[in-house]
């Protein structure tokens, strides 16, 4: 099972990203867990300088933008 981590301090964009992740998981029917990382120190621990960002199993995939449902689905595949 994959763990999708949404990194962001809780601004509107981060919530949109989280929503897109949910959609993507629902769409491709894979078993994946969403984890929200809101602590600023933890976020920088990923080496990320611009939020929102997205990591899959601890590996940063997207930085500084709201990925579309399709993009996320492609990453999950």
């Amino acid at each position: 099972m994959k763990t999708v981590q949404v990194l962001g301090t809780g601004c509107a964009k981060c919530r949109t990203l989280e929503h897109n992740v949910e959609e993507a998981i629902k769409q491709n029917g894979r078993d994946a867990r969403i984890e929200k990382v809101t602590d600023i120190m933890q976020i920088t621990g990923f080496g990320v300088m611009a939020t929102p960002a997205l990591a899959i199993d601890g590996e940063v995939k997207i930085v500084g933008k709201v990925a579309t449902v399709d993009e996320i689905a492609a990453l999950l595949a």
Partner: protein, 441 residues
């Protein structure tokens, strides 16, 4: 209960207490309510369509089309120092359009990127110099304050960054082992010059659509009064004018409505050096329309459907979060401003003394200003007698710091560095305010 529910509860309690305790039969309060709505109407009529709305689209475009990666590269751990400070102090123009992105970037630059100095510089200048803040400041508070805000922010950001780096030079920085992650460079869909031209056209549109009227008209009325005014609206029956100098009980900047039969003489006395500015003002919609058409053409030719959708979504999310705060802030400012006696404001932050500047920058440093609301709030305060120097001090310290942001900064850099940063911000902003007040008022 989570935080969001608590915020809603607090809002309900606040409305309850307001409605419960305020004495609405008092003429003062009734007058204050009127003032609140007058201010809101003025703001909506003169600054919303020509300034705030286009600014939202520009902000959305910046967030969507601007390549963050290109900027972040210069703030990495290996960037050379001059480059890092330069970029950190100026990149807020395009990176910090949404204030919520400032603190994460600050933390990122500090722990993953170029370190404490550039991070401090970014934190100080970032939120103050985003495109919209500059525009609103220059347009509403005056061109001099707008320019002073940009220069002051950038200059003092570098000074503060260097001082922070120097003060804590012996500290082992708490850096993470993580390597910096840059956003993937997006596939270039346009050539560089196309992007530049696109942004330049939109910003020029804003410049023209919101061009200020500098012309001066001398009007003599039937009751023998003479006044120098800028004519705001001229209809068949009335003139709506703004006083350029105090007249009787009316302060400078007051707006009057004159009936046409009251006016016996009128003469254009615009200084010659301002003629071209006035000429542009009268033709501003031709320029703006041409630029608007150019923008549309570029959008049509160079952008695809998905990009436009993303741009509009971004614009909408900015508008949704900023505009209600802006309108609410303006309304509250008008209301509170009418209840606070002028002498009180002038006594605290009038003139240009060290004390006035210090108070202004401390208030700016503590108080949370929702994005852009600092501009109308300051306008009201200036109207009530705040000096222009202290106004700049507040503009410089305000966006960088607030009690909530201090709490986050503390969690990232610890108590000593936070205190040093706050102290430097207050001192530098007061100094800038005093220097500005000395030369410009």
């Amino acid at each position: 209960m989570d935080r969001k529910q608590l915020v809603i509860l607090a809002a309900i309690v606040a409305v309850f207490l307001f409605a419960y305790f305020v004495n609405f039969t008092s003429p003062d309060v009734q007058n204050a309510i009127h003032e609140g709505f007058y201010l809101l109407q003025w703001y909506v009529r003169y600054h919303t369509l020509a300034c705030v709305v286009p600014a939202m689209f520009i902000a959305g475009a910046i967030a969507t089309f601007f390549q963050k990666e290109a900027v972040l590269r210069h703030l990495g751990p290996k960037a050379n120092k001059a480059e890092a400070y330069g970029v950190a102090s100026t990149s807020g123009t395009v990176l910090a359009v949404c204030s919520c992105s400032v603190l994460p970037m600050f933390a990122g630059i500090y722990r993953v990127g170029a370190g404490l100095g550039p991070a401090s510089a970014f934190l100080y200048a970032g939120p103050a110099i985003n495109v919209m803040a500059i525009f609103l400041t220059a347009r509403v508070l005056g061109f001099d304050l707008g320019i002073a805000r940009v220069i002051g922010s950038i200059l003092f950001a570098i000074v503060i960054g260097l001082l922070m780096a120097w003060i804590f030079r012996s500290d082992e920085e708490e850096r993470t082992a993580a390597t910096m992650r840059l956003p993937d460079p997006p596939a270039a869909k346009r050539k560089g010059w196309q992007t530049v031209l696109f942004f330049a056209t939109m910003i020029l549109f804003l410049v023209f659509s919101d061009w200020a009227n500098p012309s001066t008209t001398r009007i003599e009325t039937a009751d023998g009064r003479q006044m120098n005014v800028s004519v705001l609206i001229r209809t068949g029956e009335t003139y709506r004018v703004q006083l350029q100098e105090p007249l009787g009980d009316h302060p400078q900047g007051a707006k009057l409505t004159l009936n046409i039969d009251e006016i016996v003489a009128e003469e254009d006395v615009t200084p010659d050096s301002y003629r071209w500015v006035a000429w542009i003002y009268h033709h501003r919609w031709y320029f703006a329309t041409a630029l608007f058409a150019a923008t549309l053409t570029m959008v049509w030719r160079w952008f695809d459907r998905d990009e436009i959708d993303a741009w509009m979504a971004e614009t909408w999310s900015f508008s949704k979060s900023i505009i209600p705060l802006l309108f609410g802030g303006v309304l509250a400012t008008g209301f509170i401003g009418a209840l606070i006696p002028d002498e009180l404001v002038a006594g605290w932050v009038g003139g240009n003394g060290p004390r006035a500047n210090l108070i202004a920058s401390v208030i700016g440093g503590m108080w949370y200003f929702a994005t852009l609301t600092e501009v109308p709030i300051l306008e009201a305060l200036i109207g009530l007698g705040m000096g222009r120097g202290p106004a700049l001090a507040l503009l410089l310290a305000g966006p960088a710091l607030s009690l909530p942001s201090i709490a986050v900064i503390y969690s990232v850099i610890g108590v000593k560095k936070t205190m040093a940063f706050v102290a430097l911000t207050v001192v530098m902003s007061s100094t800038a305010g005093m220097a500005f007040g000395l030369f410009f008022s």
